[in-house]
């Protein structure tokens, strides 16, 4: 049931992305109802697949890499809808949704082991994972806003506008989206890291502080904290902040996907990551 719903969601996402293309290429003021409809149905199916999974597991479907990717993809689509409703930027879908498609596809292709680790019974751990994921959704939007900002800034500086100039929003809108998503993501990441520390000190005995994933998460947190303070003080120009935001998201990608396979404590492997 879970797999069927997930594949159906993927189908609708794909249709939605394809249907979006003409609206973007031909600069329609809004996305076509067909594209939004397909994405909406995809989102609903995705939500039900996650719900089915959650009911089966009796907890959030974030206990293995595959379902975490799916869950993250779902949150990003949700964020797309919210951002689209607020800003009506057609091109946002083209920037954001291919990632959702790829993440969900990976998840659908490898349903992952449905092991039952005692650790995942803990409510604290669920809060930890959920907060971090929501934070990452915010930072993905920060990343996209930074990319859009850099492209638009380059177009304006070059004085010879090309295709994307006509389709991207103004620098001010890119900047606002950048700032808001940053302000949204940081508290969640902070909360996620704090709950993680709290849980780890209680449950883990051993040198968990040196876990590569924890170190990477701290680096991520420092990068975004820096961007946050730079924004508050207004001392760093948008262009340079945008580069750092892109770097920040690259670190997240490494943390989120790369280190999951090498970290002992955080590896989503059935025999590890449990109580020691």
């Amino acid at each position: 049931m879970y797999a069927i719903l997930l594949w159906a969601a993927l189908g609708f996402y794909f249709a939605g992305i394809v249907l979006m293309v003409p609206s973007v290429v031909r600069r329609h003021p809004l996305l076509s109802p067909a594209a939004l409809g397909a994405l909406g149905v995809g989102l609903a199916l995705h939500a039900s697949s996650l719900a089915v999974r959650a009911i089966n597991l009796h907890r959030l479907p974030v206990i293995d890499v595959q379902s975490t990717l799916s869950f993250y993809g779902f949150l990003v689509t949700l964020a797309f809808f919210l951002a689209y409703l607020r800003y009506r930027i057609n091109v946002l879908g083209i920037f954001m949704l291919p990632l959702v498609f790829v993440l969900t596809l990976i998840s659908a292709l490898r349903p992952g082991p449905s092991f039952q680790s005692v650790a995942f019974r803990s409510g604290w751990l669920m809060v930890h994972i959920a907060c971090v994921l929501v934070g990452y959704v915010g930072f993905f939007l920060t990343f996209i806003a930074a990319v859009m900002y850099l492209i638009q800034e380059g177009q304006l500086k070059s004085k010879s506008p090309r295709g994307l100039y006509y389709r991207l929003p103004s620098l001010e809108v890119c900047d606002e989206l950048y700032g808001r998503s940053l302000m949204f993501g940081l508290p969640f990441l902070t909360l996620g890291i704090l709950t993680g520390f709290f849980w780890a000190t209680r449950m883990w005995h051993g040198p968990w502080e040196l876990d590569p994933k924890i170190l990477a998460a701290l680096i991520t947190w420092l990068i975004y904290l820096f961007l946050f303070s730079a924004r508050i003080s207004g001392s760093w120009p948008g262009r340079r902040s945008a580069y750092v935001a892109i770097l920040g998201f690259a670190v997240i990608m490494v943390t989120f996907i790369g280190i999951s396979f090498v970290s002992g404590w955080h590896g989503y492997l059935p025999n590890l990551g449990s109580l020691h």
Binding site: L156, Y166, V173
Partner: protein
Amino acid sequence: MNLALVGINHRTAPVEVRERMNIPEARLEEAVADLAHRDGITEGLILSTCNRVEVIANAQNNVAAEPVIRRFLADHHHCDLAAYEPHFYRYRQQQVVEHLFRVASSLDSMIVGEPQILGQLKQAYNVARQAGALNGTLNEIVLQALTVARKVRRDTAIGASAVSVSYAAVELARKIFRDLTGTTIFVIGAGKMSEIAAKNLIRSGASAIFVSNRTYERATELAKAFHGTAIRFEELFDHVQKADIVICSTSAPHYVIHREHAEKWLAARKNRPIFFIDISVPRNVDPAINQLDNAFVYDIDDLGQVVEANKKQREREASWAEEIVQDEVQKAMRRMASREVVPTIVALEQRLEHIRESELERYRGRLNALSPQQREAVEALTKGILNKILHGPITELKSGAGRPEQSSLVQVVRKIFGVVE
């Protein structure tokens, strides 16, 4: 449907000829009524603007509409049309539909994508309706042209980018600042050029405005006109940092705003961007400022370059619009054609049924001897033959609907079966 169009536009005729052929609004209703009431003409439409005069007529099937239109134009303008002959273009049938759709969608305009033409066509349509000159196929085609034009506006960005320098500045400002509501403008050098640029920005929503000029009186004048504030030239550099958009147009033969100034203002603005529009020649804003983060400097040539890029963009949009128009022309023609076929099919069936019945009538005396079953068989037999004969022509007529050869096919079928209108 028997459509003809005679017209001139900005490409085929110089302004003297267009003036001569123009039909002023005040006389339009009378003119279009005159056209539509001529012999053999059923409908008429006249679109007369400063760039074009288009006269369209729908005529009865056996009437050539074009000579009637030409006579109408000659009568109306009291002139010999021969002198203007090379300027006119003529279209028939599908070409008329295509031309009208393209004109309505602003693809035939001097500035492709300009929005006025749609209103002008609507106006022409209303006048022709009032004059009682539109009541059939042409009426429908004009309404379709208006719909197609709206579709083109909706599905392409044909009219979206600025194709004039002064509007290009506004558009650039909109790509830096979300919208211009609440932005502050600083005008340095209160000349005519900067006045126009400022006016455009204010019309687009910019609110506060500062004006500075070598002669303070001129600055106060312009500031008053825009409900702004005049700043003395000496104090200028202390105030520019408040501005989001700086329009510079002084007669100074050197840079007035240097990189150091811009650096100071940008720092004070905490990264809010500044957009410098330098419309003075020689330039007044150091172009090196464009390299600073959050500063954008456009001189008059840069604006021209943006306009060129926009025009290229418009050409691409126009080619998409052409696709839409061609598609709609085909659809419209198919609709018209299938509508023309239906009466022919009905007439054909009636004609053959009439033959069958009269033949049965002729043999009634001899058929009376037959039993009811046998009579029924004869009835079925003759009907069967009739349907078999009809099957070929009807299929052919239906499948040919919309094709160019359709019209002659209809004529042939009518002729060989002796179907009269």
